[in-house]
């Protein structure tokens, strides 16, 4: 099976600080891959590189074999990669529903179609009941879910989720996990940044571990958590799970 996304020797430095260092991995279609690592490991930077928000200093990002590392974010999105922002970015003067509609306009100009898609996306993250709310009336976990709904409305083939379950109660997180599993079953490929190891163990078929920008481990969740280097990197950073 060929990879949907392939990242090759990806490197990004910010004035001397190497945030992502020679990272390579590949995502199999229809699978959930978790990208983990302590704070400041370079996970969000990786997302930004894949999504076109940043250009790498070195290395390649291949989506369906096409190199996209110099492609602007709106084009990357239209090619089928949607991302959420770790620091949520709702359109603050638009309603929850309107926020979720925006992504749909990447594939339709029909307001009716966009509204239907937005309801569907909100429904899947449990926000349909708050469709007409203002975004500042949402709790932070709900805003994270809105990020996800916005991304889903673009009809992505690859979904990049940056800590969307942070702050959710276990029952709510379980609901979202269910949603992710259903999405993956329907063929969506997901790259997930997540700090809660229990969730990672449950949903991910592969885990990629970053530490100080470099990939230190990759493999099945059960193997990765047993890897001494992984334990060390986390314990050093005060790991709690």
């Amino acid at each position: 099976m060929t990879a949907l996304l392939e990242v090759k020797n990806l490197t990004k430095s910010f004035q001397g600080l190497v945030a992502v260092n020679d990272v390579s991995f590949a995502l199999a279609p229809g699978r959930i891959t978790a990208l983990i690592g302590p704070n400041g490991a370079g996970k969000t930077t990786c997302f930004n590189l894949v999504a076109g928000a940043l250009s790498p200093t070195r290395g390649q990002v291949l989506f369906e074999g096409r190199s996209i590392e110099r492609t602007p974010p709106e084009t990357v999105c239209r090619m089928g990669i949607a991302r959420t922002f770790q620091i949520v970015r709702p359109m603050k003067d638009m309603s929850v529903l309107e926020n979720a509609m925006v992504g749909a306009f990447s594939w339709t100009t029909s307001v009716k179609e966009a509204r239907a898609k937005a309801y569907e996306s909100l429904e899947s993250v449990g926000l349909a009941g708050k469709a007409n709310a203002r975004t500042d009336q949402l709790t932070l976990p709900d805003r994270k879910m809105l990020e996800m709904a916005k991304a889903l409305s673009t009809r992505p083939r690859l979904l990049l989720l940056d800590e969307v379950m942070a702050g959710l109660r276990p029952t709510e997180a379980a609901g979202v996990v269910g949603v992710l599993q259903k999405l993956a079953e329907s063929g969506l490929t997901i790259l997930l940044v997540e700090h809660v190891m229990r969730i990672v163990m449950e949903v991910a078929s592969t885990v990629v571990v970053l530490h100080h920008g470099a990939k230190i481990a990759e493999g099945k969740p059960s193997d990765v958590v047993a890897d001494p280097r992984v334990l060390e990197s986390y314990l050093g950073a005060g790991f709690h799970a």
Binding site: E74, M91, D93, S95, N99, G103, F105, S106, V111, A151
Partner: protein
């Protein structure tokens, strides 16, 4: 910025719009010449304000040099009509096209080189001032002495867009109605959604596939073309155009005062704001003249702006809508209570 105040249903809004313009049409049929010519200017600035509103209130792009586009429209109409006897209709279309193109080029150059936000706004004012000075030194268009339309004969001629005060009032009213309805339609279309998205958060919008670069160029271009049409008619109404009066900073201010005072990003804001601000401008101008205080109108403008921004940061119109909502709510609650009681009795 505008909040989610306009949740009234569509038919209600359209109904209200039709009613307002019907009343304005009646006012135009019965009022005296002074009121009519004042209202004509109000309506023209409603239309131009609507163009500015589209660009900032919906598209998130600030212009403080809309006089550039207003002037281009006015000069296109005037040059073709005065020098070649060509109907203003052609001048309006040509002016809109030129202004749209210049707006697009300005936006393209600016955003291509990452000049954004307030710096783009400064660029618009620089462009407007450059054009004003250029037209002032250009003999072909009369330089500072400007261009004069033939005095109207009084008889109405739609093909040449000539007529009396009342005729221009209805032209302006039609434009304002098109402006309000047009912005309403655009903001309800997909363009409105993606423009508001890029207004609220450019990067987040791009991440959702919104091609913000071209959408910014588009909204600025449409806004510029609209402003040019308003300017073309304004020149006809005034009977003469001068670089200082039609391309000056004060025109840029007159254009933006309606939406800022009335309510940014709303369909009715520019109308309400122009109704409030422009008569005040005129009254204070007259008052200033009679007391020999030049600039009284500008002071009054400034004061109104500060007061509105201070007390009604969303503008007058959203405040009115909120007030209306506040009055409505208890009534609704009362009615639902009544229904409950009735249901209880029925049960």
């Amino acid at each position: 910025m505008q909040k989610k105040f306009d949740q009234t249903s569509d038919p209600k809004r359209w109904g209200a719009g039709v009613l307002v313009f019907a009343i304005l049409a009646m006012v135009g049929s019965i009022s005296n010449a002074y009121i009519i010519s004042l209202l004509t200017v109000v309506l023209l600035f409603t239309f131009m304000g609507q163009s500015w509103n589209l660009m900032l209130g919906i598209g998130g792009q600030l212009s403080i040099g809309h006089a550039l586009f207003v002037g281009i429209g006015a000069y296109s109409v005037a040059i073709l009509n005065i020098k070649y006897g060509i109907t203003p209709w052609i001048g309006l279309i040509l002016g809109a096209a030129i202004a749209g193109l210049i707006g697009a080029v300005l936006a393209w150059l600016s955003f291509r080189f990452e000049v954004r936000g307030i710096y783009f706004a400064l660029l618009t004012i620089a462009a407007a001032e450059f054009a004003r000075i250029m037209f002032g030194g250009w003999d072909y268009v009369g330089g500072m002495q400007g261009l004069f339309f033939q005095a109207p004969t009084g008889s109405m001629d739609i093909a040449m867009l000539r007529g009396d005060t009342r005729f221009y009032y209805f032209v302006a009213l039609t434009l304002a109605a098109i402006g309000v309805a047009g912005t309403e339609m655009i903001s309800r279309s997909y363009l409105g959604y993606v423009w508001r998205a890029m207004r609220d958060d450019d990067d987040a919008a791009r991440a959702l596939g919104v091609q913000t670069f071209r959408h910014k160029i588009l909204v600025i271009s449409i806004s510029a073309a609209m402003a040019a049409i308003g300017g073309g008619v304004l020149g006809l109404v005034q009977g003469a155009i001068f670089p200082d009066s039609i391309m000056g900073m004060s025109i840029s201010v007159d254009v933006l005062i309606g939406p800022v005072v009335g309510g940014l990003g709303t369909a009715f804001g520019p109308l309400v704001g122009s109704m409030a601000a422009i008569p005040l401008h005129h009254a204070m101008g007259a008052l200033g003249d009679s007391f020999g205080i030049p600039g009284l109108n500008s002071i009054a403008y400034g004061a109104v702006l500060i007061l509105v921004v201070w007390f009604l940061p969303d503008g007058i119109w959203p405040a009115v809508v909120r007030l209306y909502g506040a009055i409505q709510l208890p009534a609704r609650v009362r009615i639902s209570k009544l229904r409950e009681v009735e249901n209880d009795r029925a049960a």
